[in-house]
């Protein structure tokens, strides 16, 4: 019994040592900050770009290394689903990459815990190169923690055949028209049109801010939001909104490829997924501009480049981040995949003015998406718990539709949840 006790104490002490050892290593790794070494190695992480874009990324690295003798960039691509776990485990063992590709939500989380470098001053010289609505994506509060990389403003892939069968010769151009058409499509053919599975994006695009301008409290509880919730409830009760898509259990691209949905609102870079799933449906498809809300702007999905707060080579890491996101690098990237650059100079290239008359929906979609860059912007407020806030809004919305929760009560509860998350 005594032996067992001693063994337990020993194990407990060892485990605590293990935990503290991890955190000590973390702080120790930051000691070299600010010192410029002759031979520097920068670790660079991207999200789901390999193997498709190996040549592009390797080319980028080669060029940077040539322009910066003594600097070596080691590239590692992370699968989309493992980014969060990999970032955490690497951070715990002091092996976080120097330069990282991060989505907007997770970037804010990492910025709030001091894992990524404050670039407000270090990147001030390049701020004006980027579209205003895009630059905000890297902000938390009034500080900047990342440079915008590639973006998509969205677009529409629609099934011409289904629309014709329902008596339409053009895709919807406004939200109002989209829902009128959805009703006809559902009644005549039993297929769906608009799919509101991300109400946290719909609301700001239609004049309802989720968080107040000073970022201190919820701003969602307004008569306009109530009207929107009630409208969607009426549509849901008519059967126009499928539960599986509302809950994200089914994928819109798959339903579109099966002819169960008449249009898919997404970035043109993803149109090809339909081509892979169902070439016949892709043949019957065409591209149209994305539908904006009443606010006059569009949500833009933004990928960011951040620098680790504990990098041993901050100067080189920031330089590399700027290099990856500069006009020349982004333009070259945009030419091999249907994404859009966040830098004004690259977006002004004649490459983006072509494609209007293309037979390929992806090409045409890229043209429309580029045209809409000026009205695209990051709609997520720069607060730490933005993912949880968006989740709370979506859950309350789903309760109205699926469980007949009173829309006003849902907004009251959403407001309370957001205020708790902002504390």
């Amino acid at each position: 019994m005594k032996k067992l006790k001693r063994l337990s104490i020993l194990l407990l002490v060892f485990s605590l040592l293990l935990v503290t050892a991890c955190s000590n290593k973390e702080s120790a790794s930051g000691d070299g900050e600010g010192t410029k070494k002759k031979d520097v190695e920068i670790k660079f992480w991207t999200i789901a770009l390999s193997p498709t874009f190996d040549d592009y990324i390797n080319g980028l690295i080669d060029q940077f290394e040539k322009e910066n003798p003594g600097v070596t960039v080691v590239w590692e691509d992370l699968p989309f689903d493992t980014v969060e776990q990999k970032t955490l485990t690497a951070a715990a063992s002091g092996k976080l990459a120097d330069v990282m590709n991060l989505n907007t939500d997770y970037l804010k989380k990492l910025a709030a815990v001091g894992a990524v470098m404050d670039l407000t001053k270090k990147a001030a010289d390049v701020k004006d190169d980027y579209f205003d609505g895009v630059w905000d994506a890297g902000n938390l509060g009034d500080k900047t923690y990342a440079l915008p990389w590639y973006v998509t403003t969205g677009g529409m892939l629609y099934n011409k055949e289904l629309l014709e069968k329902a008596g339409f010769n053009h895709p919807p151009a406004t939200e109002k028209e989209a829902w009128e058409m959805t009703e006809v499509l559902y009644d005549k053919l039993g297929v769906y049109g608009s799919v509101p599975n991300e109400i946290h994006k719909y609301l700001p695009q239609n004049g309802v801010e989720i968080v107040s301008k000073d970022l201190k409290k919820a701003a969602i509880n307004t008569p306009e939001a109530l009207k929107i919730f009630k409208e969607f409830k009426a549509r849901f009760d008519k059967g126009l909104i499928p539960k599986e898509l509302l809950l994200g259990q089914a994928k819109t691209n798959e339903w579109y490829a099966q002819g169960k949905v008449a249009w898919w609102l997404t970035g043109p870079q993803l149109f090809r997924q339909v081509k892979d799933l169902s070439p016949e449906v892709y043949e019957k498809s065409d591209a149209a501009p994305a539908m904006g809300g009443s606010s006059g702007f569009l949500h833009m999905a933004i990928m960011n480049i951040a620098v680790s707060a504990k990098t041993k080579s901050p100067e080189e890491a920031v330089k590399f981040a700027k290099f990856v996101t500069n006009a020349e690098s982004q333009l070259a990237f945009s030419k091999i995949v249907a994404i859009l650059p966040s830098v004004k100079e690259a977006a002004a290239d004649e490459y983006f003015t072509q494609g209007e008359n293309s037979d390929d929906p992806a090409e045409k979609g890229k043209f429309y998406a580029a045209k809409q860059l000026e009205i695209g912007k990051n709609i997520f407020p720069p607060v730490e718990n933005i993912s949880e806030i968006n989740k709370a809004v979506n859950e309350e919305f789903q309760k109205v539709l699926l469980e007949n929760k009173d829309p006003q009560k849902a907004l009251d509860d959403a407001e309370k949840r957001i205020n708790d998350l902002l504390k």
Partner: protein, 283 residues
Amino acid sequence: MYKARHAWSFLLPAGILLTTFTLLPALAALGISFTNYNVFQPVEWVGLDNFKTAFQDEEFWSALRNTFYFWVLVTPALVVLPVFLAILVNQNLRAIKLYRLIYYFPALVSVVITAILWNWLFASDGIFNYLLSLVGVNPVDWLTSRKFVMPSLAMVTIWQGLGYYMLFYLAGLQSVPTDLYEAAELDGANFWQKHRHITFPMLKPIIFFTAVISTMSAFKEFTLMLTMTEGGPIGASKTVVYMVFEKAFKELEMGYASAISFILFIIILILTLLNKRTLDQET
């Protein structure tokens, strides 16, 4: 002494692995549960705050209710049904090994593949609703309603676990001495009586083992919820482990996630001890 040294040499490799990858991380998690550890910032001791937060957190109670509900749906089925399956495949029939393989097959399929397959079956226009429509029953919201989501997920777990637990029972059945059955037959026992008075009592240790293992796996179930429902609709299938995953990896609250894990550990421990006590009393 010589024997003891031999035993240690066999136990040591497994012991080292178990200590390094299970025991020490578990103890580290216990330590972390008393802190506000978030990987990136210096650790601060917060005492029992994380545990207090958990007991006041409606999300945690909801996840705990969901977990218990899932356990109630899954464990009795996985303790009882495989016994009958094992008795069936323990007969001297032609191609019996093929039947065993077929029943065991779902256990070999990865959870993600299972999730994709069952998502198709459960779809609003999937096979299940099609079959129901043939007999005039309205379509069921298998994964999109609070009422059906947990039973649907339990169904998938039972389907996948049946063959796995059947193997344990089969091994147990094959170790029951045949002369016991012969003696019973001489006494005029019928099929049911033989199993009631011989098979089930002889299988008691395996029933205990199955109950413990299936309880643990029911309480730990997470992948199915992640791949099939993402904890929805509106948190109706969010289990405690799913919540641990969200808190730790999405919200960076390692301390809180560790505290929840430990509450779950205590619950499983109590259930296992209760299970053992019941079995001990009966034998």
